[in-house]
């Protein structure tokens, strides 16, 4: 197993080295700055949260402070690694190769779980280290506390990894026979995201509940979530609970590893043979090269769980938001009016809707990993009589077909439901559509800056690539500009000039999109041909 681990670490470091080596200093600096901003934002949010929960330390149940940290770390770990676990455990390219060697399944699983454990530990650290830092600020640091806390952090990561492995195992067996597994997985993620946004939307109420109902929460955790109670007690110096929590962590970990080891070969053999495939009608419709490229992209998008889940959530979220916007029209209007923030509220609505559509773009960076996803298949396109620019146009076309009509129609529907004037409605729809075209163009530009062709699983270019990170940050920035620009512009120029503001916005977006499109076709096309 030590050899397998050595290989995995070697692959990890080689990947990092290659990724760094392939980037120019400017690109690395840009990537570093974006990562720095993200880390700083997360730290500010988490420190604020732990100072707020610091009140538990003064109550009769100080352990609840650490129990909350454990629950959040557990939730983030599960959310962040369940699909990665499933794909790395059961869809890794070298599984068959390793099984053909004189290696025990436990050794293969052990080496994979350890690498995944490091990722889960990182997620736990993101949540728990600020909690420990705030505790030390409020109560003063001690060697004993730091030591116990670090061990507890390792143990909760182990519990999280155990549950993630179990979920990944169940998911693998469930999805193996299911034809539309990518859609099912995306739907699951969309529901989780919706719950997350509902939680964020009700953060004020949630905070009040969490801070005022400490006693009830403490009782509930103690009665129904004992491991977190034990974790909290361990951090506050209860050695017995510490020992019990450690025993529990190792116990469930061992049990789950035993189950995974015993079923690993069976899990490798469950296949999704398409029984009725021979009856499938032969589709011999003639298409233009670009239309055929676009169709190929759509087939890839809808058949890959990693691709659909990581870049297609925006599509589901958009549908959900449009439906919610229609159903809760009355409540939303009441809320906006009650805030008394905007004079001539109706004139601001198209800009607000465009802003919402803009925020969805960074949840739908479909084009951003599309070049990287060619991976080992790159030879097919490169050996064909088709220019790099044409290939990129095919990828952009699919991104636009997937996102632009939905954004355009969604904006029109919402504007009409909220009683916006026709001209404003049309201009807002054009802005929404252009934002998604810009997202598609920029995604491809970033992918040509950060191509990642030698990935072990499709999840890597879809969620751990420079292109996806950059497009998400870029579209977040654009969204803030569009949202703020729309509101400020309408406010400054007056509600009667709202159409003019939207027109200017559309013109600026069209110009920026066109300039990046030219860059993509000239520089990007050449770069693709040299990949």
């Amino acid at each position: 197993m030590s050899l397998l681990l050595k290989i995995r670490f070697k692959a990890l470091f080689a990947g990092i080295k290659k990724s760094i080596g392939a980037k120019s200093a400017a690109m690395l600096a840009l990537f570093g700055v974006l990562m720095g901003i993200a880390a700083l934002s997360i730290m500010v949010i988490l420190f604020s949260l732990w100072f707020l929960f610091g009140m538990y330390l003064e109550s009769d149940y100080p352990w609840l402070y650490f129990a909350m940290a454990g629950i959040l770390a557990f939730a983030l770990g599960i959310f962040g690694t369940v699909f990665t676990t499933q794909s790395q455990m059961y869809e890794a390219k070298d599984n068959e190769l390793l099984l053909a060697m004189p290696l025990k399944p436990s050794q293969i699983i052990g080496s994979r779980v350890l690498m995944l454990y490091l990722l889960t530990f990182l997620f736990s650290a993101i949540i728990m280290l600020p909690a420990a830092a705030v505790y030390c600020i409020l109560r003063g640091p001690s060697i004993t506390f730091i030591l116990i806390f670090l061990i507890v952090m390792g143990l909760i990561s182990m519990v999280t990894q155990t549950v993630t492995c179990l979920l990944g195992w169940v998911l693998h067996f469930l999805l193996a026979k299911f034809k539309y597994k990518a859609l099912l997985a995306s739907l699951f993620m969309a529901i989780v995201m919706l719950l997350y946004f509902v939680g964020i939307g009700n953060l004020d109420n949630l905070t009040v509940v969490l801070t005022q109902s400490g006693g009830k929460i403490a009782n509930a955790v103690q009665s129904f979530a004992w491991p977190f109670y034990a974790l909290g007690r361990a951090c506050t110096g209860d050695i017995l609970q510490f020992a019990l929590f450690a025993l529990f962590s190792f116990g469930v970990f061992g049990l789950v590893m035993w189950i995974l080891t015993k079923t690993f070969i069976k899990a490798m053999l469950v296949g999704g043979k398409t029984k009725s495939a021979t009856k499938q009608k032969r589709d011999r419709k003639i298409r233009t090269p670009e239309a055929s490229l676009c169709r190929k992209e759509s087939k890839r998008f809808f058949s890959s769980t990693a691709y659909l889940v990581n870049t297609g959530l925006g599509l589901f979220m958009m549908m959900a938001l449009i439906i919610a916007g229609i159903i809760f029209r009355g409540k939303i209007m009441e809320l906006l009016r009650s805030q008394d923030l905007l004079e001539g509220l109706e004139s601001f609505i198209p800009a607000i809707i465009v802003g919402i559509m803009a925020f969805i773009t960074f949840m739908a960076p479909i084009s951003a990993p599309s070049v990287s996803l060619e991976g080992n298949h790159l030879w097919i396109l490169r050996s064909m009589p088709i220019s790099g620019a044409k290939v990129l146009r095919g990828k952009l076309r699919f991104h636009c077909i997937a996102m632009v009509p939905a954004a355009f129609i969604g904006t029109i529907v919402l504007c009409l439901v909220y009683g916006c004037p026709i001209l404003d409605t049309l201009l807002a729809a054009v802005c929404s559509g252009l934002l998604h075209v810009l997202c598609g163009v920029l995604g491809l530009v970033f992918n040509m800056c950060f191509p990642r062709m030698d990935w072990p699983t499709e999840a890597a270019p879809c969620k751990q690539s420079g292109a996806v990170v950059c497009i998400m940050f870029a579209m977040m920035f654009v969204s803030f500009l569009v949202f703020g620009g729309g509101l400020v512009g309408t406010g400054v120029m007056g509600p009667e000039k709202s159409a003019l503001v939207l027109g200017i916005m559309a013109a600026v977006l069209a110009l920026i999109t066109y300039l990046f499109y030219l860059l993509l076709m000239k520089w990007g096309g050449k770069k693709f041909e040299a990949l």
Binding site: G271, K273, T274, A277, T278, K279, Q280, R282, D283, R284, K285, I286, R287, T288, P289, A291, S292, L293, R295, K296, K299, R300, S303, S304, N376, H377, W379, I380, R382, S383, M384, P385, I386, S387, E529, A530
Partner: protein
């Protein structure tokens, strides 16, 4: 049809192929032989426009692969040694995709897919996703995709690997037919018996250097190709 003149490929300090000169005429099956890492795949990839190079010229029907890559690619097809096809498509989807890109008419693609599919014994499996194919089945689909647009020149890297005996036999027939109709084939192989029986001309490469080339008779004389190959390998060590 295919002219390679002074082709040199370097990877940093290492010279993968050194000053290679070859001419493959219409109607010829040209075998390319050498041990692993000799530079066969590097040469085939450069000919197909997959690999960029700075020294030498490669032309297809008088057009330079460096200056007019798309015009060259229209006239040829390439089959790699390990055909990684789009596993999210079915065999039919993949062949249609290739036919669309090469703008093959409906009649021609239907006729060719049916004909080659039957010949290689893969028609029944073409409706299945490629993810369910074996290596040999992928190889068969790659061969059909290479033939679907009726190219003049076919570049093949170890085309017989993974094929069953019947498909292997059919492929040899297809190659002979293609050349009889005026096409040309440049392919690499480790199976010297196949090269000896099939090729009009042969080139032997070692460490990036061409050590022998010419018609099969010129290269092997009265001996077998295997003996000549082994002798040449020893001589140049």
């Amino acid at each position: 049809m295919l002219k390679i003149e002074g082709y040199t490929k370097r990877y940093g300090e290492k010279v993968a192929v050194n000053n290679l000169n070859l001419h493959i005429a219409p109607g010829e099956i040209y075998g390319f032989i050498g041990h692993n890492g000799a530079g066969k795949t590097t040469t085939l990839k450069a000919c197909s426009g997959l690999l960029q190079f700075t020294e030498g010229t490669i032309t297809v029907n008088g057009k330079s692969i460096q200056k007019e890559p798309l015009a060259c690619k229209k006239e040829m097809a390439y089959i790699p040694d390990n055909p990684d096809l789009y596993d999210f498509l079915t065999g039919y989807d993949y062949l249609n995709f290739v036919a669309d890109v090469y703008e093959v008419s409906k009649e021609d693609r239907n006729k060719r897919i049916d004909e080659y599919g039957e010949l290689l014994g893969i028609t029944d499996a073409l409706a299945l996703p490629i993810s369910e194919y074996s290596h040999g089945m992928k190889q068969k689909v790659a061969i059909i995709s290479a033939l679907v647009h009726a190219p003049k020149l076919i570049l093949m890297d170890e085309p017989f690997v993974g094929l069953d005996p019947l498909a292997s036999h059919q492929l040899k027939q297809l190659m002979a037919k293609h050349c009889a109709e005026g096409g040309a084939i440049f392919f690499s192989t480790h199976v010297l018996e196949v090269a000896e029986k099939l090729c009009h001309k042969v080139a032997i490469i070692k460490g990036g250097n061409l050590i022998a080339s010419g018609t099969m008779e010129e290269v092997k004389g009265n001996s077998s190709l295997e003996n000549v190959f082994l002798e040449l390998e020893e001589k140049t060590e």
